[in-house]
């Protein structure tokens, strides 16, 4: 559960977005959509999604938001990271049948975990389509990587690259059986309403422990109960959570 990651490489993939490839101390298969809880920043860990896993290599792609992610972005090869994980429950790819039509919808820094998800689905023989939303042309990343896996549409809010508008501008709900999404809350909220049979959303929340003990990252359920983002999620059925 606890392991030391060693940085292998670091590069900037878009404005403010850093890709960090690290070597796992404990090589393992990781279900897509799970996360690592990294000890960066002054005190608390930071939950970071996983963009790619290749045997003993793990890739993170994140945006510099505050102290923790700035520290993460400043790491150099051979630096080590105290990591807890993988934690949480990812996308239910084993339940998806190759005959089902799957769309992956990512918004901004919610895009990275969908890359590993699409890789694993395609490896299982599932045909996927990706719709990736960004603010502007300079914030776009991984477009070619997604295109190598299947049909990919990029949208930008200001229209400087791809389709102008939000991801919903490119979404044809009647064409899909399964939707897998990760991104900002307003995007997930609007996807919750889409007439697609199976919808899974990966949500974000400020976390404490990351293992379900501290109750910092709870999310309300429609029945008045709650789920914990870290240990029950971060991926939920769209009907399970109130956003």
């Amino acid at each position: 559960m606890k392991q030391l990651l060693t940085v292998v490489s670091r590069r900037t993939v878009a404005q403010g977005a850093t890709e960090l490839v690290c070597r796992l101390e404990q090589p393992q298969d990781i279900a897509p959509g799970r996360f690592m809880h990294l000890r960066v920043g002054p005190l608390l860990r930071r939950p970071i999604s996983i963009a790619r896993v290749d045997r003993d290599l793990i890739t993170f792609l994140f945006k510099e938001i505050g102290q923790g992610t700035a520290e993460l972005a400043s790491l150099r090869p051979d630096d080590t990271i105290d990591a807890l994980g993988p934690l949480g429950n990812g996308f239910p790819i084993a339940a998806i049948h190759p005959t089902q039509r799957v769309v992956l919808v990512g918004g901004g820094i919610g895009v990275p975990p969908l890359y590993e998800t699409m890789r694993q689905l395609v490896a299982r023989g599932v045909t996927c389509e990706a719709i990736l939303g960004f603010d502007t042309a300079t914030s776009v990343f991984y477009e070619a990587e997604f295109q190598a896996l299947g049909k990919t549409t990029v949208t930008t809010v200001d229209g400087t690259h791809g389709t102008k508008g939000f991801v919903t501008a490119a979404l044809r709900p009647e064409s899909y059986d399964v939707l897998l999404a990760c991104g900002p809350e307003p995007m997930l909220k609007s996807l919750q309403q889409q007439p697609i049979e199976h919808k899974y959303l990966s949500i974000e929340n400020r976390m404490g422990c990351g293992i379900g003990a501290c109750f910092a990252c709870v999310c309300q359920t429609p029945t008045g109960g709650y789920v914990k983002t870290c240990s029950d999620g971060p991926v939920f059925r769209a009907e399970e959570v109130v956003l």
Binding site: M1, P42, Q67, F215, A216, Y226
Partner: protein, 310 residues
């Protein structure tokens, strides 16, 4: 476990002085996947109220330097839910269980305390009169000495187990609070709870926490805790379980030098979920290095030597 770590306190026969603090360990289920909870001196379980509580809206946590603000808001399954669904699991471990008792009214505190104390698997109660994150109850009892004393008396009347009162640092004189609850029959003290604080997001100009205010914990508050334990230990004759920013083995020793008889670990569990186990393992070696035979040989030495010098 070696006898040099053993600590005997009212209702608690501890194989070592280390325990996770209430609210930082849930009901043990998550940490039990990582190590054997029987290694712990005790477990202070998450606060219980009379009925199930959902708690505050999110965000509920915000980092602040070497500290963390939280405003969970006493989310818990209620006393009956804890006794029915959480205690059977906790009872499978060979460790003392301390139940944290919260409420909005004296009657609610009494109800929770009575039910908790009657459970054979619960060894002591921790009276939570210092939670800063709920609108009614909690901290108002913890900032007025006469209200704190009255509540302690009422809970002592209904409890069949020793009662430790958890003190708030958000007071003018914590010594006065400690004396008041000792006179009202408290069997021990746990201190300190969190310091009330706030952080503001400069992009929105609004507080980060949905509850606006929260309780500050972590290394930032350790010197405050040490000072308060040091002052209170000299003013009362009941034992103190010290807490507040303990991250490493020397922090444990500092608390005991200041006058604590046992030490609870809170925020550090979020940073390193193995911390309690590691501290227990590291204590004997560090005691050897410092020439300490039994852990309580150093209790209160920080002020005793001052007295000798005077």
């Amino acid at each position: 476990m070696t006898e040099r770590l053993r600590v005997e306190l009212p209702g608690l026969s501890l194989k070592n002085p280390i325990m996770p603090a209430s609210g930082c360990f849930g009901f043990g289920e998550e940490y039990a996947k990582l190590y054997d909870l029987s290694e712990l001196g005790a477990i202070m379980i998450k606060a219980a109220t009379g009925e199930e509580r959902y708690g505050n809206p999110t965000p509920r946590v915000a980092e602040s330097g070497m500290g963390m603000l939280n405003a969970i808001g006493l989310q818990n399954p209620g006393v009956d839910g804890i006794l029915t669904n959480k205690m059977p699991f906790l009872e499978t471990f060979d460790t003392a269980i301390i139940a944290n008792v919260a409420g909005s009214t004296p009657e609610e505190y009494e109800l929770v305390a009575e039910k908790m104390s009657q459970h054979p698997g619960i060894h002591a109660l921790e009276l939570n009169i210092s939670c800063p994150n709920v609108k009614s109850g909690g901290i108002q009892f913890g900032t007025d000495p006469s209200l704190a004393a009255e509540l302690t008396r009422r809970v002592k009347r209904v409890s069949t187990k020793p009662v430790y009162v958890k003190l708030s640092p958000n007071v003018t004189s914590i010594v006065e609070m400690a004396r008041a609850v000792e006179a009202a029959g408290a069997d021990g003290l746990t201190m300190i709870n969190t310091l009330v604080g706030m952080r503001i997001d400069v992009r929105t100009g609004q507080p980060i926490l949905a509850n606006r205010i929260g309780g500050l914990s972590g290394p930032s508050i350790k010197p405050v805790a040490i000072r308060m334990i040091h002052d209170v230990a000299q003013a009362v004759s009941i034992p103190i379980i010290g807490m507040g920013g303990v991250m490493e083995v020397d922090d444990v020793l500092e608390m005991i030098y200041a006058g604590a008889s046992a030490v609870a670990v809170g925020t550090a569990n979020f940073v390193n979920p193995y911390i309690c186990q590691e501290l227990i393992q590291q204590l004997p070696e560090r005691m050897d290095e410092l020439g300490i035979d039994h852990i309580l040989d150093i209790r209160g030495k920080a002020y005793e030597s001052t007295l000798h010098r005077a």
